[in-house]
């Protein structure tokens, strides 16, 4: 087994084919091989392995990718629900518990 799948993977990931220039930056930064190139454009090879880290969208020079990036961490989500605010890793600004 090389890749794991989770729940709701990649549901927020979308590529706008008309804006994509095929530079390949997104393919280069994806840690799960979700994106690939076909006919000079980026395309989704397997949405099921997308963890929505946001690397592709942040590094697309043409704004052709959108994804709602976030942490897939239950502890952060529970903390966010209890304390309010958006879920983020760690226990504080100086903390490394992530």
């Amino acid at each position: 087994m090389t890749e794991f799948g989770y729940i709701k993977n990649g549901e927020t990931l979308s590529i706008r084919g008309d804006t994509c220039t095929g530079c390949g930056a997104c393919v280069d930064v994806c840690p799960h091989g979700v994106l690939g190139m076909r006919s000079g454009k980026a395309e989704m090879l397997d949405r099921a392995f997308c963890m929505e880290c946001g690397a592709c969208a942040r590094n697309c020079p043409f704004g052709a990718i959108s994804v709602s990036a976030g942490v897939g961490c239950a502890a952060a989500i529970i903390k966010g629900k209890l304390g309010g605010g958006t879920p983020s890793c760690g226990c504080g600004p100086e903390s490394a518990c992530c």
């Binding site: 993977n9 927020t12 592709c56 709602s68 942490v71 903390s95 490394a96």
Partner: protein, 361 residues
Amino acid sequence: MKLTPLGKDRKETLPGYARLDGRLPGYVAGYKEIAGRFVPIVSPRLTARDSLGDWGVRWGIRRNDFKVAPGLYAIGDPGPSSPILVTANYKLTFDRLRKELEGVDAWIAVLDTKGVNVWCAAGKGSFGTAELLEKIARLRLGDIVTHRTLILPQLGAPGVSAPEIARVSSFRVVWGPVRASDIPAFLAAGMKKTDEMRRVRFRLADRMAVAPIELAHAWPFGLGSVAISFLGALPPDAGFGHRFAWIAVATAGSVLAGSLAFPALLPLLPTRAFSVKGAFLGALWGLASSLLGGLGFGLGAALVLSSAAVVSFIGLNFTGSSTFTCQPGANAEVEKSIVPIVASLVAGVALGVFSRVFGFR
């Protein structure tokens, strides 16, 4: 004595650290002089102290204060054309990087990520565009090299926008491999990555490397296990020792099952939901230990329910250590599983108390 980061001394005009006499951090092998300035040269060899620290931090020891000073370092004997590798100031990360650079001449620019690893810091934004731009300017990277390329770890990409760096600074970002161990091959190939270098893995060894911290975080459950075993084994008659031992095996064992067996067996456990995988493993453990201990139906059912709850919760928390979970999925799992987990724990404890008090077997 600690190294003083650049900027404390206003006379400093070039990148690097003030040279200080006295004891140096173990990772500094000496200083490289550049136009009257001294940049620390780091050793690619980890000392026993480094290795001990790296092992300890996996267990949570000094976890919130395991840092190197952000700034510029040298490894080998770098010059104006040597590559610049950018990294985080978590010491475990820094040690992982330098240990792979035996025989490589390079500059290492360490960003201030507050002691957090590259991937997590990128998610938080501290390994981010603004911090990199600040370090490019403050360390005057443009003055120490003639090229204009920065090599960043690929897992920094959720935080750093390469197009933005190119727009604002004179440097361009090249995304290096995910793992430091691939850097020599990446450099030798002219900064080219294979698909394999691009992929995050979560193999058995990777999963077990992050397991100790789960165990360290699970100590309240361990404490609870001792208390429950004692109370559950009452009254102190002839069977007390037997009951105490087996309830302890079941409850403490469920903490170990959640912290160690769960990550080990992750791909084999049913469904994709970590909480369900955990509930399955926990129930199995509760059943096995109560059957082996001959604890009877009432106590056995109590242990199945409580063990399922504990392992499910520890498993749910492992989403944060995993490399592939997304926020909407984890959110859905939290919303659906917390009530059943709490209900199962309460029911288990109540059933245990009931079966012990009323002698129900």
